[in-house]
């Protein structure tokens, strides 16, 4: 009694049929993949890591997802939605591994998706995320706006627009965008961006409150919770509460024992408290798993302060290698390198080149941090007058950032503006007395010398 008899086989209309099937297929596959995401029980090593701090992270779920999507696409090469899913999966892979080669792969499949479905908000949003991740912020903003034009209800498109506007220095527009986003959908994604907007505008208490709400809002993903808790920790640390920060990092590690940013927060705590050996050990473990410049530089600085110049030099040299790798995969790293160079003048290139590069970066994305990097590069090359002008620009939002005030104070000091120097250096140390293992002592000494006058 086969029920096959009732199934009349329809005559074959390949084009239209596959269009429909492929479209639904993607949705179904996405759904099923999503099911797998939920159904997965916690990896055994996650729990082990709680007990054994050096346990290797579990084999990532994302690899299985990528593999199954690739297999699916080999059978159904016209399934636009699966290309989008695969692109997003590749982006996830970068975030988990730090390997920028996946950016190139993501770009390729996302453009395959776009070719087949040109006005798909998800694809455009994901392309926006990819562009942002590569620090191509104008492109990111453009994709976000295109996505928003297709789907005005999408909070995700607004998130991409906010990120792009913020990183292009369009702070007023960004504030309006995030207000729209949180009014559309209050959740972890929007709360965490409200926090960033508030932080940039000097509202530290408000930034903390919003980020704590973001952590409480939760998501289906432990990494998100770990991220938001780490951000709370970072906010606390940056404003002079290392003990509070430590508690948040530890909460983040409860949510996700292998979380690198939380571990990096703890490592920074160790360095700032004077435990360079502990910090070096912690950072070495971190860069072994995720060799990002941020951590490599921190490790190098620890070695330098610990009286190990050769070890420090090796780390600094690695920064150049990493930046080349990033650039090969389309990541714009100029701002990061400019600031590193300004902190370590002449190490990777002549200082004049650093200043020129910082100028170009500022021209492309006039953020307060690009202004600050340019100011600091100019300071290092003795151009104090212009440095002051850019430093003032950097402080235009009144962001409570010790480094910005430190740079302003040192510039004022070299311009013999004692009052401003005292004020700005005092601000820096008041915001966070341990704001930098390299520069906090300099701030302290300079301020002391001013008081002695």
């Amino acid at each position: 009694m086969s029920s096959l008899s009732v199934w009349r086989v329809k005559s074959w209309r390949p084009v239209r049929r596959w269009g429909l099937v492929a479209a639904v297929l993607g949705g179904l596959l996405a759904g099923t993949w999503l099911m797998a995401r939920f159904v997965r029980p916690p990896a055994a090593t996650d729990t082990a890591a709680l007990v054994y701090g050096d346990a290797a992270p579990a084999a990532p779920q994302i690899d299985a997802t990528i593999a199954s999507l690739q297999t699916h696409l080999s059978t159904y090469p016209d399934d636009a939605r699966s290309y989008t899913l695969l692109g997003a999966a590749y982006l996830q892979k970068v975030r988990e591994s730090g390997d920028p080669a996946y950016y190139t792969k993501a770009g390729a499949v996302l453009h395959e998706a776009l070719r087949r479905q040109p006005a798909d908000a998800d694809t455009l949003t994901t392309l926006g995320v990819l562009a942002l991740a590569r620090h191509q912020f104008s492109d990111g903003l453009s994709y976000g706006q295109q996505a928003y034009a297709v789907n005005a209800y999408s909070p995700r498109a607004l998130g991409v627009i906010f990120d792009g506007q913020t990183e292009l220095g369009q702070y007023a527009a960004a504030a309006q965008t995030i207000q729209k986003m949180v009014n559309t959908r209050p959740d972890m994604s929007s709360y965490s961006r409200v926090s960033y907007a508030r932080e940039l505008h000097g509202d530290v208490a408000g930034a903390l409150q919003a980020m704590r709400l973001a952590a409480q809002a939760g998501s289906g993903e432990a990494e998100n919770t770990a991220w938001t808790l780490t951000q709370v920790g970072n906010l606390l640390w940056q404003h002079g509460d290392p003990a509070g920060a430590r508690a948040e990092y530890q909460s983040a590690l409860v949510a996700m024992p292998s979380n690198i940013p939380a571990r990096a927060g703890l490592a920074r705590n160790l360095a700032a408290s004077g435990d360079l050996q502990g910090a070096i050990a912690a950072y070495n473990k971190i860069v072994a798993i995720m060799p990002l410049s941020e951590y490599v530089i921190a490790l190098g600085d620890c070695y330098a302060l610990d009286g190990q110049p050769a070890a420090a030099a090796r780390q600094y040299a690695l920064v150049k290698v990493l930046s080349q790798l990033q650039q090969a995969n389309g990541v714009d790293v100029d701002l990061e390198i400019a600031l590193f160079e300004a902190d370590h003048p002449g190490r990777l290139e002549p200082l004049a080149d650093t200043v020129a590069k910082a100028r170009q970066v500022y021209a492309r994305r006039p953020t307060i941090y690009a202004a600050d990097a340019l100011a600091w590069a100019q300071y290092q090359s003795g151009d104090y007058a212009e440095a002051r002008s850019y430093s003032e620009t950097a402080l235009r939002l009144k962001t409570r950032d010790a480094l910005l005030y430190f740079h302003a104070g040192m510039i004022a000091f070299h311009l013999s503006d004692t009052a401003a120097a005292r004020l700005d250096l005092g601000q820096a140390l008041g915001i966070n007395p341990e704001f930098s293992i390299l520069w906090a002592p300099v701030a302290q000494q300079t301020l002391s010398s001013l008081s002695a006058q």
């Binding site: 086969s2 029920s3 096959l4 009732v6 199934w7 329809k10 429909l20 639904v24 297929l25 949705g27 179904l28 996405a30 759904g31 099923t32 993949w33 999503l34 997965r40 029980p41 997003a88 999966a89 982006l91 996830q92 970068v94 975030r95 730090g98 998800d122 949003t125 994901t126 995320v129 942002l132 991740a133 789907n151 995700r156 998130g159 990120d163 949180v182 009014n183 559309t184 959908r185 209050p186 959740d187 994604s189 965490s192 509202d203 409150q209 939760g218 998501s219 289906g220 993903e221 998100n224 991220w227 970072n234 409860v254 690198i260 940013p261 995720m290 410049s293 701002l335 590193f340 480094l403």
Partner: protein
């Protein structure tokens, strides 16, 4: 959003949630923490994610209706150290349209507060939890139930009960032995003075002495339960219906149907309200002869002012709806991806304006109802004929008025009236309802998505044993007339989209081949756990030490992903 959203046509947001936002690494090459901030781009927000809504005349108390909402999809029974709970920051609401104008006239709000007895430990419990007041239970939630009545004249807010206890989660036999008793102890009664009067007190425990006898009391429960939904999740693998020969079932691998939600829990809020409070001559909204109540549920979170001029903390903002659920499969079978965001934030009174708004979102919505994608799929994959099919295209028209699936429109958006005689099974035998019989369509209804329950259809009018196929199975008390826990909405939807209700609801231009009823089923016909005979009816949750979950993992997950 029902749990289908996690596996069927996934919302754009949810999709990106797990692919993009999951990551929380720093931006590669961010030297300063402020160089570029890569916050999560989407959150799935499980505590605000409404998975299922049920509304039915209470089987053991037929002068009352029971409303049940479930939240937190795929809540695994194991947890620790942070167990699942309701969100303190979410406003959970049950909305009732007692008139048919797509507005909420009676709303029930639930707000939760987490308490920690000893803040110096993160432990949920420091010993065995013997009772709801056991000092060993360190982290617990209480909640408040508020009733808001809206008429054209006024809006009245009444706190029905506050500081009620949500029971602990079912951890295991060391922490929560005799769990059934704990859930029992958290079932509460609010005594009411008069039909539409205010509360005079509350008591908790299934066998609590009522504060004043009488039929006006409201019952309430909020806490962890077994997930009552049941479905073979492989239906989302290109509409595979296991247990059948290919092409419908699999030609290789495991072709045995399995409830993919077996072993999972949810967090349920259940409310039982006298029918006379909602409809009838002495209802909350005055004399209301309409017996049909429309039900939907929402979750809302608070927005905030991003930049306060004074620089202080500004957390005052409106509550924003982030989840909405009425009919069980609207957001999955009807709403296309492009409209899911819109639907989540839309109130039902916005449905018709959207539907008729013309090119763009409006036409997309219209097409999704009148030419549903699921129907096109059944037709193109399995050759299922469709009512009003245009030629052999598998499309049903929608561009000119009333050329498409009026049956889907009725089921989802207005409630149903028969267009032909329709036979139901009752306690006294088969009864033929005449043409024009109003099953659950309010007079002058404003089309909007919500579950519609006719409180006048009950008792002997129902099938003597509930039929899981509801109306399609001849049981007038089943889905789509309301929704009972045991109604098999997956099968009912598959068959309805296949045209099973066409002749009863529209005309005789199409006749559903009953042979398809045997095929349009996922062959998972009941929940893994038996429902209770008493309120809140949803079964007690699986314990964290329960092994059933692993079965699902091994049998389904490994099959598909690896």
């Amino acid at each position: 959003m029902s749990k289908f959203i996690a596996s069927w046509l996934v919302s754009a947001g949810l999709l990106l949630a797990f692919l993009v936002a999951a990551a929380v690494g720093p931006a590669p090459l961010s030297v300063a923490a402020s160089s570029h901030r890569e916050a999560p781009l989407i959150s799935s927000d499980p505590q605000a994610d409404n998975t299922d809504v049920y509304a039915f005349v209470s089987p053991d108390r037929q002068d009352s209706v029971t409303l049940i909402g479930d939240w937190i999809p795929f809540e695994a029974p194991y947890g620790g150290p942070n167990y699942f709970k309701f969100a303190d920051e979410v406003l959970y609401e049950m909305h009732l349209d007692t008139i048919g104008d797509a507005k909420s006239h009676v709303t029930y709000q639930f707000r939760f507060t987490t308490h920690t007895r000893n803040p110096n430990t993160f432990l949920y419990n420091t010993g065995t939890i013997h009772s709801l007041t056991d000092a060993n239970w360190n982290v617990y939630q209480t909640y408040t139930v508020t009733e808001i009545v809206s008429t054209t004249a006024a809006m009245t807010t009444t706190v029905l009960a506050s500081d009620l206890l949500s029971p602990p989660v079912n951890i295991g036999s060391k922490s929560t032995p005799n769990y059934y008793a704990l859930g029992d102890a958290a079932t509460c009664i609010v005594s009411i003075s008069g039909v539409s009067g205010g509360p005079t007190g509350s008591a908790c425990g299934q066998h609590a002495t009522m504060l004043g006898a009488g039929s006006n009391n409201i019952k309430v429960f909020a806490g962890q339960r077994d997930d009552p939904f049941f479905v073979d999740l492989q239906v989302f693998d290109l509409l595979t219906l296991r247990g059948q020969a290919p092409p419908i079932g699999y030609s290789s691998g495991n072709n045995i149907p399995l409830d993919g939600l077996k072993g999972f829990n949810v967090h349920s809020i259940a409310l039982q309200i006298p029918i006379s409070r909602l409809t009838g001559s002495n209802s909350l909204t005055g004399n209301n002869p309409n017996p049909i109540i429309g039900v939907w549920m929402t979750s809302s979170r608070q927005s905030m002012r991003v930049l306060s001029a004074l620089g202080g903390v500004a957390n005052s903002g409106p509550m924003v709806q982030v989840s909405r659920l009425g009919m069980p499969l609207t957001n999955e079978l009807v709403m296309p991806l492009a409209l899911k965001d819109a639907f989540n934030g839309l109130a039902p009174e916005g449905d018709l304006p959207l539907y008729t708004s013309g090119p763009g979102a409006g036409d997309l919505f219209k097409k999704s109802v009148e030419n549903p994608e699921l129907g096109r799929l059944l037709c193109s994959l399995y050759g299922v004929p469709l009512p009003r099919e245009v030629g052999s295209t598998c499309n049903t028209g929608y561009t000119t008025p009333d050329t498409g699936r009026s049956d889907i429109f009725a089921i989802f958006l207005t409630g149903m009236k028969t267009a032909a005689p329709f036979t139901i099974n009752t306690a006294t035998g088969p009864v033929q309802l005449p043409s024009g019989f109003d099953i659950n369509q309010p007079t002058g209804v404003v089309p909007a998505d919500m579950l519609r329950l006719n409180t006048g259809i009950k008792g002997n009018t129902c099938s003597p044993t509930p039929n899981r196929l509801g109306i399609l199975g001849g049981d007038a008390c089943g889905f789509p007339n309301g929704r009972r826990l045991a109604d098999d909405v997956v099968d009912i939807e598959l068959q309805a989209v296949g045209g099973a209700a066409w002749q009863a609801l529209v005309d005789n231009t199409f006749s559903f081949n009953p042979a398809y009823a045997n095929a349009l089923t996922d062959r998972v016909n009941s929940n893994d756990a038996a429902f209770d005979a008493v309120f809140p009816y949803v079964a007690a949750p699986h314990a964290g030490q329960d092994p059933h979950f692993a079965d699902i993992y091994n049998s389904w997950f490994s099959l598909f992903v690896y």
